[in-house]
Symmetry: C2
Subunit: 406 residues, 2 copies
């Protein structure tokens, strides 16, 4: 008898048939004796349809009114899913974000949850009902409808699980868990049984798109046990939890490949204090996010300053750097869009030395030149020529034995 | 400087272009110095789309959840219209039924408005904003979303006008007012400048589909001045108000033709007390609504009992009558679906004798046989063979000079 929060995304509720399938899955959990809260997204395509209607009226759409329009997508799904449950004889009731009272700030389109009054939901659960809650939305203290931004339904699910002190927050999606790496690159990639919040955060920020970063942060903060599962295939999925709940941490949990970045180098930068902010200040002013940063001081009193940005912002960043180059009298600006970032992630590397050198040696053995390196406590990232991306992933996946069950 | 409530139906907001046109019309009223509350329906087709989704899940759909789903239709429109107004530089804000606090009972799918807290709307109006309100919906005292049933947006508009003590409630539709009769039958039919609530109620109940009966009742009860206008063509429309506001009442205001009824006769009914309830009791038990009722007592101690029902319920009513016929040992049951009801409506007939005989004489002169007659204080209805329907309408329209301006 556990209290489970189950979250189903847009693809999982994308048609009447799929909504019926979700109802069947929820019923099975009820029959198994669990109390169930379901959080759902809008049916796939619906949010885009509404967004396009709004944009046809005014682009960009006024934010308060856009939220009033977008929130209807999830409201339709909760009603339909509650109907499907009632049709199966499972007592159920739908709640919008406002009806639960998911209180948010008033930052329309990207609101943050401030508080959840779960008393209504508790009462319904006690009466034996499945409570179907609209994800992605809330209400501010003025009674305005707000939305949490794309992917906000994951956040709603985790926040509800925290507020209800649920035993588990299950995120149903179109993959059956978190993998050691992309199975399209490495066929022997293995589904992880367990992974820590920190590792999941690194994997998500490196481009593994299973979960929204924000929902993982939320889960970590409130110690909500997450599980990623498939809506279409039965299976245990991947549990995301605290390090203490994972008996024997793997050295390395996963290898990721990020193709979204591009590299910029200013060559011959005067080697003096304040150079980094002179270069990156104008980039930040243009709202361009910088990922990796490397500076090499040369023997001649000049340095090379290299950083990466998202490829979509490369052209803009390049123009800014050329201006900066002139102003600071550096030697030249070089740019390269044909790079990838390969990373290994694992809490085990905290207590094991030599992971970095093993990584570099393995890549060198395949003739892969490393252009940039960046490390954190539980991650090592390298930037390499994009043509070696898949080879590097396969090499590191094999080097650290990720295909074998730990 | 008046306070106007404007209501636009589904056709008037059926596309992005039409929503822009409504915004233009609202802006014109603002520029003219009026305070404006707009009540809108779902975009045409949207309510049916949602209803079909729900029915595909469970038919009939559970009522509470159906309301949660259906209410989204109007919520989309209010957001889009508010955006269109903001895009034109007209300050505007959207409100759902729940956000206004249109309090209803909990009769899902056909809720009744109990109370409206108009304080939010007053505040917004005072701040110079156009308030765009979702029609057709409310909220019960538990916070559940309710809907008022089809055509409920008219009721919302009238109720808002009453709560706000608006100067006028303008119902924008696809016709430019209320006509003396259907212009497709009588080309010289004339738009009425003014008509009383009572006349409008009779006309609506007789099948003139300009306004919902319920909204006219509401307007009459709270003395809300209504105006029916076209969303597509400029014009004064038709004002619907109290008799005192109409200087010189016309003898007859309109002629209506109702093709939706069918006639049933039980022949040779024993002429004794209780017969009517013996016949109509089982009909009422089957939830079949009866319109006209006529009983002729014959000289032989037996009577013919005739009544009309909606054509859709004719077959069911016929089967019930055949059973009753056996039980009460009457002579026979006769039915006829090929009839129509033609009516004349006018408050003027209260103070003028001889309207009925003029009606019957005019029809007789055209060789039209009258099968049933029913009268009220301001209405005379006759049932005739359906093949004479249009002729009867044209005859009475001419007889009472309705084409001429009074």
């Amino acid at each position: 008898m556990s209290l489970l929060v189950q979250k189903y995304g847009g693809t999982s509720v994308g048609s009447v048939e799929r909504i019926q399938a979700v109802a069947e899955r929820v019923e099975a959990a009820r029959v198994a004796g669990h109390s169930i809260v379901v959080v759902v997204s809008a049916m796939s395509g619906e949010t885009d349809r509404l967004l396009n209607l709004a944009r046809a009226i005014k682009n960009p759409p006024p934010s308060r009114e856009l939220d009033a329009v977008l929130a209807t997508g999830e409201q339709v799904t909760i009603g339909l899913l509650a109907m499907a449950l009632l049709a199966r004889g499972v007592d159920a009731v739908s709640y919008t974000g406002g009806q639960v009272r998911i209180l948010t700030d008033s930052a329309f389109n990207k609101a943050r949850i401030l508080d959840i009054d779960a008393s209504n939901v508790h009462t319904e659960l006690k009466a034996g009902k499945v409570v179907v809650i609209a994800g992605f939305q809330g209400i501010d203290d003025q009674g305005n409808v707000t939305t949490l931004g794309r992917g906000g339904s994951d956040t709603t699910a985790v926040a509800m699980a925290a507020a209800l002190k649920a035993d588990e927050c299950q995120i149903y999606t179109d993959v059956d868990g978190v993998y050691t790496t992309d199975p399209r690159i490495v066929p022997e990639a293995r589904r992880l049984d367990r992974i820590t919040y920190e590792e999941m955060l690194e994997m998500a920020s490196l481009g593994a798109k299973v979960l929204q970063i924000r929902s993982v942060e939320f889960a970590s903060k409130y110690q909500v046990t997450l599980r990623v599962l498939s809506s279409f295939v039965d299976g245990p999925g991947t549990l995301i939890t605290t390090e203490e709940n994972i008996m024997e941490a793997a050295l390395i949990s996963g290898v990721t490949l990020n193709r979204d970045e591009a590299k910029l180098t200013i060559v011959g930068v005067p080697d003096r204090p304040g150079v980094a902010s002179t270069i990156l200040g104008p980039i930040a002013d243009a709202n361009i996010e910088v990922d990796m940063i490397v500076q090499n001081s040369g023997a001649d009193g000049a340095a090379d300053f290299t950083f990466t940005v998202h490829r979509n912002e490369y052209d803009q960043a390049l123009a800014i750097c050329q201006q900066t180059n002139l102003e600071m009298k550096a030697r030249a600006v070089q740019g390269d869009k044909r790079i990838v970032k390969v990373s290994i992630v694992g809490v085990g590397m905290r207590s094991h030395a030599g992971i970095a050198s093993r990584t570099f040696r393995a890549l060198a053995a395949e003739g892969i030149n490393i252009q940039m390196i960046s490390t954190s406590e539980i991650k090592i990232s390298v930037v390499i020529d994009e043509k070696y991306g898949e080879l590097a992933v396969r090499t590191l996946h094999a080097e650290f034995g990720l295909a074998e069950q730990v």
